[in-house]
């Protein structure tokens, strides 16, 4: 037993200084006695919290707490500013369930279409590709533009097991359109893998651009696009690396425009 083992109670009750806490945590990793004792204390105190006399919370507490919680970022949902319902798979209401089933059908239908496109299509007509973190070749003249939101939509997971969420916004600039893709809950791609955004027209994919997520799984990327192209679908895939000219990896998110 080490000297540090005597700190267990004070550690559990948050009575150690920051330095002592760090020292104890370092010790804890190597001390099976402390680990066993901590687990035991936790297991033994499991029921103790129920031994409290009921105290009626203030009546307004519910509103205060729920408002405060909802003001924080939701765990997975993408909040859309245009009032569209966020993705709510498995929701309790029939209406929502119908909505979701419809969405799933669309997504399933699109996957073979895209898969076929992978083999049939060669790269063509990419209008522009730009992404955060890569300097543009052409210097942009500073100018004042008035942006307007054309469309904002939630991308649907291509399979139920995919937890990723993303929204795509099309913003009208002066002479072109900008696509802003914001994603959350992304898993970190392996090795050289990257997330790739594709725009499709009649099943033919056009590479919009590439991005990698931040440490917290969130990612944002902007792409300049030609509104005249008349794309009908947007999809995100995981590609082996950033050089894929046509989709080679699995589709993770997809939505009709």
């Amino acid at each position: 037993m080490s000297d540090k083992c005597t700190h267990l109670i004070d550690y559990v009750n948050g009575q150690l200084t920051d330095t002592e806490t760090k020292e104890f945590e370092a010790h804890f990793k190597t001390c099976s006695t402390c680990e066993e004792e901590l687990n035991e204390i936790r297991a033994l105190t499991d029921d103790l919290g129920f031994d409290v006399d009921p105290v009626e919370p203030p009546p307004e507490m519910k509103e205060r707490i729920l408002s405060a919680a909802f003001a924080e970022k939701a765990p997975v949902e993408s909040q859309s500013s245009d009032g569209k319902k966020p993705i709510a798979v498995g929701s309790t209401t029939n209406k929502q369930e119908q909505h979701i089933q419809k969405r799933k059908k669309k997504a399933n239908w699109l996957i073979p279409a895209m898969a076929a496109a992978l083999f049939l299509s060669l790269i063509g007509n990419i209008y522009t590709v730009s992404q955060l973190g890569e300097p543009d070749d052409v210097a942009i003249e500073p100018s004042i533009t008035v942006d307007s939101l054309v469309q904002r939509l939630n991308l649907q997971p291509a399979a139920e097991t995919i937890p990723f969420q993303a929204t795509a916004s099309f913003v009208n600039k002066d002479h072109y359109q900008q696509l802003v893709v914001e994603a959350e809950q992304l898993s970190q791609p392996e090795d050289t893998q990257v997330y790739q955004v594709w725009l499709l027209k009649d099943g033919e994919p056009y590479r919009a651009g590439t991005f990698t997520p931040a440490e917290d799984g969130s990612g944002i990327s902007t792409f300049d696009i030609d509104p005249e192209m008349g794309y009908d679908t947007i999809a995100i895939t995981i590609e082996p690396d950033e050089t894929s000219e046509t989709p080679e990896g699995d589709i993770v998110l997809v939505e009709e425009l």
Binding site: G14, L44, L66
Partner: protein, 188 residues
């Protein structure tokens, strides 16, 4: 974790606000009462409960079914939040807390069956412990005191606090199990 809690938690993780509201309706009184027992300040108790619900909603803390009951997880999170608050407060060194009117005019917990049942069992089990064992558990668990303060209050050498506490908790657990299985007849 009851089947209902499992479903509720899954919905909450998908960002369904109704799920958080239902969870609030089910557990807020328990968490508030518990938080109040530890802090003895209603406003602070509310702040603690708010922090807990925000942690649940934003998934800063996530529940793992393999680590026990959902309700116990919520209570542990509440206790840790109180302790964290005490820790910060200690740095400001304030001793102004006064005990407020604590009792619910209607001391029933009919709105939460699990609480009602567990409370009856745990209360009975605690009452069967020796007074010094009751005291060490209260000072440690509900008041979250330091080992030194527990030693001082119980007139124990510092080095024996942990041992006494573990013994008292083990005794309590055995008594709880006995009550649950045999309706309170203690078999020595």
């Amino acid at each position: 974790m009851s089947e209902h809690d499992v479903q509720l938690y899954k919905k909450l993780r998908r960002g369904e606000k109704e799920a958080l509201e239902q969870m609030y309706d089910k557990y807020s009184k328990l968490l508030f009462s518990f938080s109040f027992k530890m802090t003895e300040e209603k406003q602070l108790a509310e702040e603690i409960v708010q922090e807990v619900f925000i942690k649940v909603w934003t998934q800063k803390s996530s529940y793992d079914e393999t680590k026990g009951k959902f309700s116990s997880w919520l209570l542990t999170m509440t206790r840790n939040t109180v302790i964290d608050h005490h820790r910060k407060k200690r740095e400001i060194a304030s001793e102004t807390a006064t005990k407020e009117m604590t009792e619910d005019p209607d001391p029933s917990v009919e709105d939460q069956v699990e609480w009602k049942e567990k409370r009856a069992v745990v209360k009975k089990a605690i009452s069967q412990l020796k007074p010094e064992q009751q005291k060490v558990i209260t000072l440690f668990y509900y008041q979250g005191l330091s080992q030194q303060k527990i030693a001082d209050s119980c007139n124990l050498p510092l080095g024996t606090v942990k041992g006494r506490l573990r013994l008292a908790l083990k005794h309590l657990k055995t008594t709880i199990q006995d009550i649950e299985q045999n309706g309170g007849i203690i078999h020595e």
